[in-house]
């Protein structure tokens, strides 16, 4: 049963309700899974996917059959790694080798792990991890290598952070650290996915030569999550906003959440949003390299959601109080716009860039840089989908004449003018001649022009009116 507040919301936002209905009625997946043909372990893997992922499970399940299973398993492997990293009940001495060697257990038949604390939400996945391993061993070796390589890099990155006592106490220190952290947890995923897309020939191989693009894809999503989840992370005693940023606005991280510091906290969030926003144009660039529709949808939906979330968080004091989310209606509209083509996704980015720009406050120290970042997104979109092209302006060139040409054009125009006059004269003369000719013939044939002219005299014209009236009266009398 929908909540009363939801009903009230959608009554006030019928456009959003329309988006929800449209998405649910009209969206059909590019590819569908054939569940009945899947073996038990694979079905278990998809069940875990549904259980562990809120946002990614739907898009993963609509992927091209070639990548469906590899990417589902890639997700579960990384989720498993994350579950180990997150769990504070595992002692470091045990955690570190687990993280560093996780890529090796992927092919160890029957491997599973029950060392997680009872409160860890994805504990079940690791307890029954042998299903993942079983399916992983069936994946094409090329894909397996990519997944293992990324798992190894990420596991080592996480182990480094787990070892770093300072990080555990104070959180992320510099912007560089912040970028590095996001690289380990998201940039690497971008790299891995890109390699899978290219290996399966569903994306342009040039993407591999521009690693900064896939890095930005991952960084953008991760940074938006970090901005949105600041309150939730604080409650879990984690800090991802780098000290280098927040220390410009407040002395202690916790001060960001005090009501009296609202203005400072908002300016601080602006800087975080600015850092993320500067990646947006590279995300669009990346999407231009994808060839397959299902892969495009898979990559584009989260990006559209991310920029919409960024807009929702921008200059919004609620992020320091609760979890801010975009509405279901907006989410459906974003999915409709992100499952067609790049031009529509660019439209989404431009729309949200302008909304951010509209909220931008001149008193915010990041005001100008945010404005420039929004402008940069618009300029990038213009560079791939230009709304103004030079050939359209070639017409102007033609209008520009040298003095000689101008004189010639003037003479031409003069000539054309007389041509028109002559032509008009000839037509008039012909009409006149024919009229006279016909009148003369009619006269010879006995036409009474004198009577006709007399009829046309004004006095006669007016006399007719009362006569007409009498006729009408007679008509009525007859009745």
């Amino acid at each position: 049963m929908p909540k009363f507040s939801d009903i009230a919301y959608y009554l006030l936002h019928p456009q959003e309700l329309r988006s929800i209905l449209q998405w649910n009625i009209w969206h059909s997946p590019v590819h569908e899974r054939y569940e009945e043909r899947e073996c038990h372990s694979l079905r278990m893997c998809f069940a875990f996917l549904d259980k562990t992922s809120r946002s990614f499970s739907a898009v993963i399940k609509e992927l091209h059959p070639e990548l469906l299973v590899p990417i589902c398993l890639f997700y579960l492997v990384l989720r498993g790694l994350d579950t180990i990293e997150d769990d504070m009940t595992i002692p470091l001495s045990e955690k570190e080798p687990l993280l560093r060697n996780f890529h090796q257990v992927l092919e160890e038949e029957g491997w599973s792990f029950d060392g997680n604390g009872p409160d860890e939400k994805d504990r079940e996945l690791l307890v029954k991890f042998h299903y993942v391993v079983e399916e992983f061993r069936k994946v094409k070796p090329e894909y397996r290598e990519i997944i293992k390589d990324i798992t190894k890099k990420m596991g080592n990155g996480m182990a480094d952070y787990a070892n770093n006592a300072e990080h555990n106490i104070n959180g992320v220190n510099t912007i560089e650290d912040y970028n590095l952290y996001c690289h380990y947890v998201a940039g690497l995923v971008g790299e891995g996915l890109t390699r899978l897309f290219v290996e399966s020939k569903l994306a342009n191989p040039l993407l591999l030569q521009r690693p900064e693009l896939s890095e930005s894809m991952g960084q953008f999503l991760q940074q938006v999550n970090i901005i949105r989840d600041i309150k939730e992370d604080l409650d879990d005693k984690r800090r991802f906003w780098p000290r280098e940023v927040w220390s410009k606005y407040v002395d202690k991280f916790e001060d960001l959440f005090k009501p009296e510091n609202e203005e400072k906290a908002l300016n601080c969030s602006s800087e975080m949003i600015l850092i993320a926003l500067q990646r947006a144009d590279e995300c669009l660039f990346y999407l231009a390299g994808i060839k397959d529709q299902s892969v495009f949808n898979f990559a584009a939906i989260p990006q559209s959601m991310a920029i919409a979330t960024l807009e929702k968080c921008f200059r919004n004091p609620d992020i320091f109080k609760k979890n801010v989310k975009i509405s279901k209606g907006n989410a459906c509209q974003l999915m409709i716009d992100s499952t067609q083509n790049l031009e529509l996704v660019c439209g989404v980015f431009r729309r949200y860039a302008r909304l951010i720009h509209k909220k931008n406050d001149p008193r915010d120290p990041n005001f100008m840089n945010i404005s420039i970042a929004c402008g940069k997104i618009e300029q990038f979109i213009e560079s791939i989908f230009p709304s103004q092209k030079p050939p359209e302006r070639a017409a102007i060139l033609e209008k520009q004449l040298s003095p000689e040409e101008e004189a010639k054009a003037k003479a031409d125009a003069e000539e054309a003018k007389w041509d028109t006059i002559y032509m008009g004269g000839a037509v008039l003369f012909t009409l006149f001649f024919i009229t006279v000719f016909m009148v003369v013939i009619a006269w010879f044939a006995g036409a009474r022009f004198d009577l006709a002219l007399a009829e046309l005299k004004p006095s006669n014209l007016f006399k007719r009116t009362p006569a007409a009236n009498t006729e009408k009266q007679i008509h009525y009398d007859e009745l």
Binding site: H357, R363, M368, K376, P390, R393, I396, K399
Partner: protein, 344 residues
């Protein structure tokens, strides 16, 4: 700027016209800094030195920045920009100049639609009746001579010594008109900090000298600088009113957006028309003109990939730092300080 690597410390003998002007004096400064052994001659209305270009000068490089104010009388614009440039080119030809850098204007491609969206150098130059600003008609360079030439087209220059952009905006603030915004402010606009434009001139002079030194070998078509035009911007198109608001912020304004009145462009341009007509009847200039309304709502930004690729140009000072510097200089001057940077 000392970190910028320039191997040679001299560009030979450089003649800078308008070298005491807004852009010119920055070029002189940057030239002194980067190529300290360069012999510099400045030709300017405001100096008392010889105004005739003597063939005895024999410069290697001419940087031609001199131009009247964009709102000067038509005859003055024509005489200086077209005839003056022609005279200079002829004199340069006679005295064996190697490189000639001409300061053009980004408005040369502006037409009556008053819209430039991410334009690059493929856009044709617009002159005569189709060109809305007479100043611009006088700006494209004249017939190419035998030595190497290039034209730079900076867009919306501002900075220290600026007589138009920053003072114009500060005037609006002084009159309290900053609480009105004409148009929706979705129009992106290119503003360029003057030092970046000066930097581009030095890069262009260097590139032309390099081409001259490797003659008779000519550069590849996609690398050449001579005979080419380049748009120069800060590579940071920004929403027009956001730039103005940043300037006002540095001037001490703290008006929140909620206190700003947004006026639709159509209304303002009609109003401007009426004002022009009324004031015109009594022979005065109105506070609000159609041209101003149009300017504030104009989309006008450029793609400067060509300058990046061929000149190796990229802005060395960001927009906000540029505003800060421009503002600082103004403040110092008003406080009775001496204007820095001008050449004696």
């Amino acid at each position: 700027m000392s970190d910028l690597a320039f191997s040679n410390d001299s560009l030979g003998h450089v003649l800078i016209t308008g070298g005491c002007g807004f852009l010119g004096h920055h070029i002189v400064n940057i030239l002194l800094e980067r190529h300290p052994s360069t012999r510099i001659t400045v030709l300017d209305l405001r100096t008392n030195v010889n105004r005739n270009l003597s063939p005895k000068l024999r410069p290697d490089v001419v940087i031609h920045t001199a131009s009247p104010h964009a709102f000067a009388a038509r005859e003055v614009l024509w005489k200086v920009n077209v005839e003056g440039t022609k005279v200079l080119l002829e004199a340069a030809q006679k005295s064996g100049v190697k490189a000639f850098v001409h300061t053009s204007s980004a408005s040369v491609i502006m037409d009556r639609s008053m819209k430039i969206i991410n334009a690059d150098e493929r856009w044709p130059v617009v002159m005569g009746k189709e060109q809305p600003e007479y100043y611009t008609t006088t700006k494209p360079p004249t017939a190419p001579p035998t030595f190497l030439t290039t034209a730079l087209r900076p867009a919306g220059i501002f900075g220290e010594g600026d007589g138009q952009t920053l003072p114009g905006m500060l005037n609006v603030l002084a009159q309290g008109k900053h609480t009105f915004q004409i148009g929706a402010n979705d129009n992106l606009f290119d503003f360029t900090y003057v030092l970046n434009v000066a930097h581009a001139h030095i890069l262009a002079a260097n590139a032309l000298l390099a081409t001259a030194s490797m003659a008779p070998t000519v550069p590849l078509d996609n690398e050449r600088v001579d005979g080419e035009a380049f748009f120069i911007t800060n590579d940071a198109p920004i929403y027009f009113w956001d730039f103005a608001r940043t300037v006002w912020f540095y001037a001490g304004d703290r008006t929140p957006l909620s206190k700003v009145w947004v006026l639709p462009e159509e209304v303002m341009s009609t109003l401007g028309g009426v004002m022009e007509w009324v004031y015109g009847a009594v022979g005065k200039k109105p506070a609000m003109t159609r041209a101003q309304a149009r300017y504030a709502c104009m989309t006008r930004y450029f793609d400067i990939s060509k300058a990046k690729r061929r000149l190796g140009y990229s802005p060395i000072v960001g927009l906000e730092e540029g505003i800060r510097r421009g503002w600082r200089r103004r403040w110092r001057r008003e406080g009775g300080g001496r204007e820095e940077g001008s050449v004696e």
